[in-house]
């Protein structure tokens, strides 16, 4: 479904879905259309069942295009089609997905790249799509993005760098050392990355799980808007997610000296949780 809906063509698109003009770096959403304006006159229109049309104005940075398509546009399409995107990178073990979420720059990709050195293949980078259509479990759809790492993360994880992501983004594409997984799997655990004095992993329980479900970033808002939840509907959705998704926090200092200790801690947890 996502492959079909994310087919890209080029041409002119409307510059607004409503009466208001669309400013740079903003978006509009209607019942069956999503319009994003990037920098300058760079527009992305998604129509349900018809795919994406990209309009390239003058002086736009084409190297940014795949970032928009794989980022906000992809998340919007997923949301409009019943999938829930969350800002997370993930590995797979024993037919379960272990996902790591944090704000941008919080170490998600670096951790996933490092876990590859412990034999854990990548499931996704940066965006994890959850399929909540089965009421008994949350299924994860395999990632669509290539692994992206900052130069220091390449060194830290011994990943093999490929080309630069774009002219303005100081990241490189990299190949995950343990490969990746291309099949849908249930979510084993969602781990929140935090900073603290020493590496430790602790489960998150009770109402904090509910609060954490609201803690996610732009994608949660997009999903709520696309699903047209009223207040009670959003509450029911978040409560279900909080109940069905096991959660933990991984607290660690952000320094190279204790990096491997933290990675080993996470790798051991993934392997022990995967076997339960």
């Amino acid at each position: 479904m996502m492959e079909r809906e994310t087919h890209v063509s080029f041409g002119q698109v409307p510059h607004s879905l409503f009466d208001d003009l669309l400013g740079e770096m903003s978006w509009q959403l209607s019942d069956d259309r999503f319009l994003l304006r990037g920098e300058g006159d760079h527009y992305f229109l998604y129509c349900r069942g018809e795919g994406i049309t990209v309009e390239r104005g003058e002086n736009i940075d084409v190297s940014e295009e795949s970032l928009w398509l794989n980022g906000r546009v992809y998340s919007a399409i997923a949301s409009m089609n019943g999938l829930m995107p969350i800002h997370a990178s993930a590995v797979a073990f024993d037919d379960k997905v272990f996902a790591f979420t944090a704000p941008a720059g919080g170490g998600k990709s670096t951790l996933v790249a490092a876990l590859a050195n412990h034999g854990l293949p990548m499931f996704c980078d940066d965006t994890l799509l959850l399929d909540p259509s089965d009421s008994d479990r949350i299924l994860c759809l395999p990632g669509h993005k290539r692994l992206k790492l900052r130069p220091d993360a390449v060194g830290l994880t011994c990943a093999v760098p490929r080309e630069k992501v774009s002219k303005t983004v100081d990241k490189f594409y990299a190949e995950p050392a343990a490969g990746d997984v291309g099949v849908a799997l249930p979510l084993g655990e969602l781990v929140f990355l935090e900073t603290g004095p020493q590496p430790v992993i602790a489960p998150i329980a009770g109402a904090e799980r509910f609060v954490r479900m609201q803690d996610d970033h732009y994608t949660a808002h997009l999903f709520a808007e696309a699903r047209k939840f009223d207040r009670a509907g959003l509450f029911t959705h978040l409560a279900r997610m909080a109940t069905q998704i096991p959660m933990a926090r991984f607290v660690r200092p952000v320094d190279a000296a204790s990096f491997e200790e933290g990675v080993e801690l996470v790798a051991n947890r993934v392997k022990s949780r995967g076997l339960t």
């Binding site: 009770g206 109402a207 509910f210 509450f235 029911t236």
Partner: protein
């Protein structure tokens, strides 16, 4: 006495592990009930008045009855103040 009654049309709730998350529908405000608060909330089922609530709690906890009654009254007042309980 009149049975204690939740204003069920004003909120929605969910059990998450041993805790209860309650949301007011009019303003989206959240409350988290854990431990004794969650037990009292579950005991307010529309059949018990204050005395019945205290009797039920006496079966759950050892302790000074007057102190328990005082804590319960304070909690019930908070529930009324937040618009979750009639009265």
């Amino acid at each position: 006495m009149t049975a204690l009654a939740k204003l069920t049309d004003r909120f929605t709730e969910a059990d998450i592990d041993d805790e209860i998350v309650v949301m007011r529908l009019d303003n989206g405000e959240f409350f988290s009930l854990a431990g004794t608060g969650a037990i009292i909330w579950r005991l307010i089922d529309g059949t018990r008045d204050r005395k019945g609530l205290l009797t039920a709690l006496a079966g759950e906890f050892d302790g000074d009855e007057a102190e328990i009654a005082s804590d319960v009254d304070e909690f019930l007042a908070q529930l009324k103040e937040t618009g979750l309980l009639a009265g």
